[in-house]
């Protein structure tokens, strides 16, 4: 069952977080933020605040600390944010009224580009570069969402309780690498290689990762075919797969 607060966490900290990488991967996005120096704050009751700091041709997603913001976007509740992500609602700005143009123009363009990659049209996936960016961002979204679900979703918490402390490394051959650290059932995802991992999930290609994330093939088939290799502490991988299944429900 989808919990609105968990979906809001995913939308904020996993979907919008991708803007950090989008501006590195997509030339259009890079151009849009050139010379922009603004920080947007997302404020939802009973949820951690998130800031998107746009500066020096970079976007940084800031969580769990307070920084100055030029624009404050308030939401009545998690559902309000989820509706905005679907394009069915608008936030309530409380600071930065002069910046509304930026929100409706540049920022909207950025999120539209992000949407193109995260909800790709099949034909566009035939383009190699588009496919690469789409799969990379989907990969990040999925594994960042794992942590949100393990930390916040009722069933996710139950699954997380069964997972011992340890580090899981998820990698794509010649592609991105993700690390998930589990400490007392609290999950943290980062985009980095790790030297202290005890469980490993290695995709042989971006193509395989994309197909699994889009449910075009299942993990069992990929493992049998040698397209996905798992090793190390298998219970961690087994339970990670259960969390990934919940991710697909949330992101459907």
């Amino acid at each position: 069952m989808i919990e609105n607060s968990v979906l809001a966490s995913i939308n904020l900290f996993c979907v919008l977080r991708n803007l950090e990488d989008l501006v590195d991967l997509d030339e259009r996005a890079k151009k849009i933020i050139a010379d922009i120096d603004k920080t947007i704050k997302f404020n939802i009751p009973f949820m951690p605040e998130m800031y998107l700091k746009i500066k020096d041709n970079k976007i940084i997603c800031v969580r769990d600390m307070k920084i100055y913001s030029d624009i404050n976007l308030n939401f009545l509740n998690p559902t309000h944010l989820n509706l905005m992500i679907k394009g069915k609602s608008i936030p309530l700005p409380s600071r930065g009224f002069k910046e509304l143009n930026f929100l409706t123009n540049e920022f909207k363009e950025l999120t539209d580009i992000l949407g193109e990659y995260l909800k790709p049209e099949k034909e566009k996936l035939l383009d190699r570069e588009f496919n690469h960016i789409s799969t990379t961002l989907s990969f990040y979204t999925a594994f960042f969402s794992v942590s949100e679900i393990a930390n916040n979703d009722k069933l996710g918490i139950e699954i997380a309780k069964k997972m011992k402390n340890g580090v899981i490394k998820i990698s794509i051959d010649n592609g991105p690498k993700i690390t998930i650290r589990i400490n007392n059932s609290i999950f943290k995802t980062t985009i980095e290689d790790s030297l202290d991992a005890v469980a490993f999930m290695d995709f042989d290609s971006l193509d395989t990762a994309g197909k699994i994330l889009r449910s075009e093939i299942d993990a069992f088939t990929a493992i049998g075919s040698g397209k996905l290799a798992v090793s190390g502490r298998i219970p961690l991988i087994d339970n990670l797969n259960k969390l990934l299944r919940l991710v697909s429900i949330y992101l459907e």
Binding site: V198, F220, S225, A229, S231, G232, R245
Partner: protein, 416 residues
């Protein structure tokens, strides 16, 4: 020492992927079977005899999984096969059961110490589930205690929340506690007084992917006494251990008496049959449970089981596999030490579990197992192994040579 390749296995697997979910599903498959890496393992068998299995590429393996337990008197055991063949000529799946069913039940009652009756099905999960239904029918209670990591099959109540297809309501009445922790059991019984139908447990703790644990001294006696006093049915899931520790049942082996005891794997040396045995006071409750299956009363597996049990009693198979298990595991420990590794062996010798010490992730152990498999010794990295009576001293010597070679390879890989 040559290493194996598996082109035929892969070719068949490619065909399978088109028409079978995951190609090979379940514990025999590359995913649940933890084939790490998959390239080291065969996928399909061609034939088997004694302690050996040949894959479709003609590679021979000493099968230390014994088909995950069923093979105890060796693949294609002549006595068992002849009995099955004779019955096949008379009939197998028929409108009525054959006399073999009664003969087998009588033999089990005579052989298994805690058995006053026997009910037959096909898989272990059929009878663990029947045991639960019988216990609930007898007690009119809902709750079931089981041990964390214990495996009792695949029906809903045996699974965990988060497994695809499992909903909260499926497991609402399942209470999982730690094995060998008597206080946890006492506390649970106190907390849910009058609500617990049964405890279902394996005779010793043999979870996958974790060290196995034998029962602490006096543990089962205390559990038995509490169950008796509280009206809780004590179910022993002897599906995996049954006949490998003692032909009279693993409860007998550990010095107590189960109310219900479940058998499958070794019962008929690979023929498809399982059995729930129980004490007299539960017989009528088992009769009341609506429970049946298309092939559960087929005669061929029953004939095979009869001959297999007779043979196991005659040759004292439990003693044979235990002695072979001790010889093998001692040898493996020694070879490991000679190569600078410490191999931790747990569980009973006839179905031991092993892992390498100082290998936090288990990756080195998985590498070692893979190198053994590629050279004809089929171990697994995540599950207990099994011994059958046909394993010879020469097979053990060969195994130790392969283990030594595999240790040398991983020692080199790890800078040794």
């Amino acid at each position: 020492m040559k290493t194996y390749k598996y082109p035929q296995s892969r070719e068949i697997f490619e065909r399978a992927l088109k028409v079978i979910p995951a190609g090979v599903y379940g514990h025999l498959g590359p995913s649940n079977g933890c084939f790490i890496p998959v390239s080291a393992y065969p996928f399909y068998a061609k034939n088997a005899k004694g302690a050996y299995l040949w894959d479709v590429d003609g590679n021979r393996f000493i099968d230390y999984m014994c088909a995950y337990g069923p093979i105890i008197t060796g693949y294609n055991n002549e006595r068992v096969d002849n009995a099955a063949q004779k019955q096949r000529q008379d009939g197998d799946c028929m409108l009525l059961p054959s006399e073999k069913m009664v003969e087998l039940a009588e033999l089990m009652v005579d052989t298994v110490e805690s058995a006053d009756w026997a009910f037959f099905a096909k898989n272990g999960g059929d009878v663990t589930n029947l045991a639960i239904l019988t216990a609930r029918a007898y007690t009119n209670r809902k709750k079931i205690i089981k041990f964390n990591g214990g495996y009792h099959g695949v029906v809903q109540w045996t699974q965990s929340l988060g497994n695809p297809g499992i909903i909260e309501e499926d497991i609402n009445n399942i209470i999982s506690i730690d094995f060998n922790d008597i206080n946890s059991f006492k506390d649970t019984v106190k907390k849910y007084k009058g609500q617990i139908a049964c405890l279902i447990a394996t005779p010793y703790h043999h979870p996958a992917m974790a060290d196995n644990a034998l029962p602490k001294k006096g543990y089962w006696k205390e559990i038995r006494d509490i169950c008796t006093n509280e009206g809780i049915v004590l179910i022993i899931d002897d599906v995996r251990c049954g006949f490998r520790l003692d032909v009279k049942g693993s409860d007998y082996y550990y010095g107590f008496k189960a109310d219900l005891i479940c058998f499958c794997k070794s019962l008929a040396n690979g023929y498809n049959i399982s059995a729930l045995c129980g004490q007299e006071f539960l017989k009528s409750y088992c009769s009341d449970v609506f429970y049946t299956g298309s092939y559960w009363l087929s005669a061929v597996p029953m004939a095979a089981a009869i001959e297999n049990i007779k043979q196991m009693v005659e040759i004292d198979s439990a003693n044979i596999v235990t002695k072979k298990g001790i010889k093998l595991t001692k040898g493996l420990e020694k070879v490991a030490i000679e190569n600078g590794f410490n191999l931790i062996i747990t569980g009973e010798p006839s179905m031991w579990y092993m892992r390498l010490d100082n290998d936090e992730s288990g990756v080195i152990h998985q590498r070692w197992i893979a190198e053994c498999v590629k050279r004809g010794v089929f171990f697994t990295s995540h599950h207990n192994m099994f011994i059958n009576t046909m394993l010879s001293d020469e097979d053990i010597d060969f195994t130790l040579k392969v283990a030594d070679k595999a240790f040398k390879i991983i020692r080199k890989e790890n800078g040794g």
